[in-house]
Symmetry: C2
Subunit: 253 residues, 2 copies
């Protein structure tokens, strides 16, 4: 059976997140995609794997999903057909045949997330579903110093949400950059993987540092403590977007 | 009684527009503001005047409203109290005492609107409530030439929505600028006033010009015809934002 990968953008506001819930459990992106694929496949269930299990309210512009389709079809036609069947808050922005053995989650090399935080006095209503809000001021120097702390291989147990069942809380962060632009903080992080709520906790750390509540040195100690009680609370979900997923380059001649 | 002016930002998605409807007629920004003011004033109705009567789905970052309040209160306190009472899709971004005789609509000198139009192949779901969508390509040269046509004093009868009851369809456009940025067209227009759906019709003209369906010369003839059947259809409401309203400078020493 032919294997495909699609790149998805979605407005996470009205979803309980990526992952399929038990029947009646609520609207999910995976559920919406599987429903559209099931209709394309004439009623057969098409199981979908997503690269990142985004939480409720979290958005994506570059989520990647893979699935086997019972019948072969040109990728452009698959994309158009899915966009005709999907609700308006999810779009397939790219579709392609996947190489044998491709798995959206296990084949991923890195994931990149972006977080936007408005820290002015008042947040524009137009931004309330796409950016977190935390009244400032924030010290730019301290925010950037805190962002730099995350780079490299660390045990991020202090930033992991309770109840996660992961083998290891060690992750390698390749890039962690914050810029303050007007009254908006834009943060991007790329890593080989992220624990549940890890990016939102990273941003919680940036806010604490920017407000002077926890200077970068203290944040470094809280990271080393591997204890989530030592860490500031995570930033709200709505500011977070899964920007993209990278895969090994295809073999070439 | 003390007179105030407030500057409002709103996400117009879930409003039937600015203007109060008959009871049970639906949610409006004026209605939300009057309800909040009524609660502040201890149940007395506070009638509000808005500078621009934005339509359903149209947003604002700089709408201005004026009203008499039964009791005097510091402007900062008024702002905070209103933001505590208003729904989350409307914010008071500024509040100030207004000079005697101030009237948000009649005192206005110019209004500025912005329209955003995505013209790529696929629109990001995150943008669907804040930008129109019309698949391109658009010719930037033709779009800018069309935008330049609107500048100056013209009879805009071709761009007026049916059913409006205005004394004159002549308006003076001080500024009309389009820029194409990636796959988004950002258009701004400033005028002494706009007819109903006029900005959206202006953008309809830009799209027709950009697609080559109506070259700028032909658009100029359609404008001069003062006949709305000669004009391309208006762009959708969701891309439109009332950016600001200008008033005469206060007298100074």
């Amino acid at each position: 059976v032919p294997l495909y990968r699609v790149t998805l953008a979605y407005d996470g506001t009205d979803f309980l997140g990526w992952q399929l819930q038990r029947p009646g459990g609520g609207r999910t992106v995976q559920g919406a995609l599987e429903e559209a694929l099931g209709r394309l496949a004439g009623g057969v269930r098409v199981a979908v794997t997503g690269a990142g299990r985004t939480d409720a309210g979290v958005h994506a512009v570059g989520q990647v999903a893979s699935f086997d389709l019972p019948r072969e079809m040109p990728a452009g036609e698959l994309q158009r057909a899915l966009n005709g069947l999907l609700p308006s808050d999810v779009r397939v922005v790219d579709a392609a045949p996947a190489p044998p053995g491709f798995h959206a989650r296990r084949s991923a090399v890195t994931k990149t997330y972006r977080y936007e935080l408005d820290y002015g006095t008042i947040q524009l209503p137009q931004r309330r579903l796409f950016a977190g809000f935390a009244p400032g001021p924030l010290d730019g120097e301290a925010v950037r110093a805190a962002a730099a702390l995350y780079v490299g291989r660390h045990d991020f147990a202090s930033l992991a949400s309770a109840g996660g069942s992961v083998r290891t809380t060690v992750r390698t962060v390749a890039r962690s950059e914050a810029r303050l632009d007007g009254a908006t903080l834009v943060y991007e992080a790329e890593a080989d993987g992220f624990l549940r709520k890890m990016v939102r906790s990273m941003v919680g750390g940036l806010i604490a540092a920017g407000r002077g509540a926890m200077p970068p040195e203290e944040l470094a100690r809280a990271l080393a403590a591997r204890d989530r009680r030592a860490w500031p609370p995570p930033a709200p979900a709505c500011g977070l977007t899964l920007v993209g997923v990278s895969y090994p380059p295809a073999p070439r001649c």
